[in-house]
Symmetry: C2
Subunit: 425 residues, 2 copies
């Protein structure tokens, strides 16, 4: 296969005709595959199944401080669970706020608190047209939160080292810029891990707004695909050097460690934010589900236990990521119709197709029975200005299905590029 | 014992001296008892313990529609759980929104949505000094939500039939009145159940504000103490007759059925509110904990299963309520120093002591080692204008301890009344 840019019109047409035949035969198979969300596959779920037996009726149901977790009280959750999340996020246990099953819920509620109560300043909702910075491509659910609250989103380009920091540093001089969404480790969708220098520059930010916050969504911090994995600098440590601890809300969860929707979510913050957030949470809830916390503690025991579990998880996921990357390489590398990320962890692979073709690729796949994440979903307002980026989620389908889906995908990428070229000439 | 109002000063002084000796002997015992919160006792928790074995690793983990509840998806929660809560609250399953472990959380988030997004009108937070009606005595956590959001609270007197409806009907003519807190069955703290006529008048309200909502906190709807128990009219059925379905947010949970903090909370609403609330919840969360839902379904099976469980719960609770009521009757009935409610269900007994004495009674108990709910907690801003109401929570202490605590309590009630009388004369 040659790079399409070097082909004549006749050669392009021949390539198109051949791919159209391949595409039609896919379409005739009646596929029904879903690669749209970062949903764990059946093998992953089975790996965590014994968690359900980790706290039985006959077991002692007390936390390490002697409280019966089945009763009310112990509003902050289990001390041992706070300590574990402290270790995961690199903060002391007393900086950890435990949630229920969804770190997204913690993020939404934090933004909501900014809107309605503010963070030491007037509520964001009373300050005019406030703005969040959104590294792109990024996570659609982050953008949806901003859209729900009417917060203007400003795209910031991603690099392999993280968001373009000179752009971030410039924007935070605007006092109406109140936040930025970051997935600092194995970013969604590219799988990049922010460099030490990027994290340092975040920690050193001097925003015009005193109530500016970095939403540090560290969902994938333990989700390595390779043994020799990336390391993320500890933003709280660095913040201390710049007297900037109040800048960061860090989030994580066990959603993709134990069970999505039945795991434990947590937030780490400096002491100033801790008091503000607790003031709200104490009114909002009766505390998180402590029974599920004890179940998790009994099963995983400690960070070593989680890491051992995540190594097994990586063995399930690695072949899936490899299958996708191999097909991308084999089918597309020479054609010049796409580039893609080679993630060392996380849940996604990001593909940039020919400019103006992402929507068409997703449509072609859909028509042949494979659902991808909607084109544009990785951009604020669903608007990818170059219509190039597509997020692939390789975790859910079985490998055989994944290969089918990817074979169709690479045909669609080439077809869309050829359609465009042939229409132009 | 005679009614104190008929005693001479000398007789009062003699009574005071005798009670002071009794009080000092209590104080010398070094009691350490807590009757402050509606916390289940150890026996109640043990009754629910088998729930922990109801969903094991080896069990089929699919909901009735075939979804693996351990994975993501099924955003609305289990259809069978929605149906069960629909039965409990008297609505169709498709009007039920399932939450996580806290109906308080659902209430807070609903108020918050009113403040920041509104209900079909401008956000409450942009409408000036909005107000909520608060039947008193009432639930301190409801009042705390209003206080958090800066919502002005207006007390409305309670009667044995529910809130004084002529007061409610008058206040809702004010377009800034946006809500009312109701615990319609076994009200907190009196244990009253709203009469059919009260529920009808709620359903027939014509508030000036289109975004007025009734917060119908039906936490105790299955928490009967007697076999021949109270019945609460179905407010949604009545609302339909008045084309008023949008008026009601109903809440309930299994917090005091299974485990506090590890149960299932739910909300029932009409279709208009359903769409508004879902619009927010879909952005806010990844859906509720479905594993815990399936665990509850496997254990309780259906409403009959829950009712059978609650009959056993009543057998644990009845002797506690009886012990409290007997001591109140025996020690206080003749003295004229207190009146109290005789609840048919729920978690509390409400005592009205001599005017101006509630704070003193709580203080006397505290000094002798028994913690009660703070005086005033049952009123907005902690301000009981007559300083009379005290909420007793008989569920947590063992019966022997409960009797000790109550013996002290009735001494304190009489002492406080005598102190006041003797100081006046």
């Amino acid at each position: 296969m040659a790079n399409y840019s070097s082909l004549s019109r006749e050669e392009l047409q021949r390539e198109y005709d051949a791919l159209k035949v391949a595409y039609d035969s896919f379409a005739a198979q009646g596929l029904k595959l879903d690669m749209s969300r970062g949903k764990p596959g059946a093998e992953q779920i089975e790996l965590s199944a014994p968690l359900l037996d980790a706290l039985r009726a006959a077991d002692d149901a007390r936390s390490e401080n002697g409280m019966d977790v089945r009763n009310s009280g112990l509003f902050d959750g289990l001390p041992e669970m706070r300590r574990l999340f402290g270790e995961i996020m690199g903060v002391d246990a007393d900086r950890v706020i435990l949630g229920n099953n969804s770190s997204l819920n913690l993020m939404f509620d934090a933004v909501c608190q900014g809107m309605v109560s503010g963070f030491g300043q007037a509520p964001w909702g009373q300050q005019g047209e406030i703005k969040f910075l959104c590294p792109v491509p990024g996570y659609d659910r982050h953008f949806a939160i901003c859209e729900y609250f009417g917060i203007t989103m400003i795209p910031v380009p991603m690099t392999q080292q993280g968001p373009a920091m000179e752009v971030v540093e410039k924007w935070v001089q605007d006092p109406l810029v109140k936040g930025i969404w970051c997935v600092p480790m194995y970013s969604n969708p590219q799988g990049y891990t922010y460099s030490d220098e990027t994290v340092r520059r975040f920690a050193a930010l001097k925003p015009a707004a005193k109530d500016f916050r970095i939403f540090w969504d560290n969902s994938y911090c333990l989700h390595h695909l390779k043994k020799d994995h990336a390391r993320l600098a500890n933003i709280f440590e660095l913040c201390k050097q710049y007297d900037n601890e109040h800048l960061v809300f860090e989030f994580t969860s066990t959603s993709k460690i134990s069970f999505p929707g039945a795991g434990i979510a947590a937030m780490a913050v400096g002491s100033y934010n801790y008091d503000l957030i607790k003031k709200r949470v104490m009114i909002q809830t009766i505390g998180p589900d402590k029974v599920n916390q004890l179940r998790h503690m009994r099963y995983f025991k400690d960070l070593d236990g989680i890491n051992a579990h995540m190594e097994k998880m990586a063995e399930i996921l690695r072949p899936r990521f490899d299958a996708v990357l191999q097909l991308l390489q084999h089918d597309l590398a020479d054609t010049g119709t796409a580039t893609w990320s080679d993630p060392q962890g996380g849940y996604f692979i990001s593909v940039d197709v020919t400019e103006g073709c992402a929507k068409r690729v997703v449509e072609l796949c859909k028509q042949a029975g494979v659902t991808l994440t909607g084109a544009g979903a990785t951009f604020p307002y669903g608007n990818d200005p170059e219509d190039r980026n597509i997020r692939l989620a390789p975790t859910f389908p079985a490998i055989a299905e994944l290969k089918q889906a990817m074979a169709l995908f690479t045909v669609a990428v080439r077809l869309a590029a050829l359609e465009k070229r042939l229409a132009q000439d």
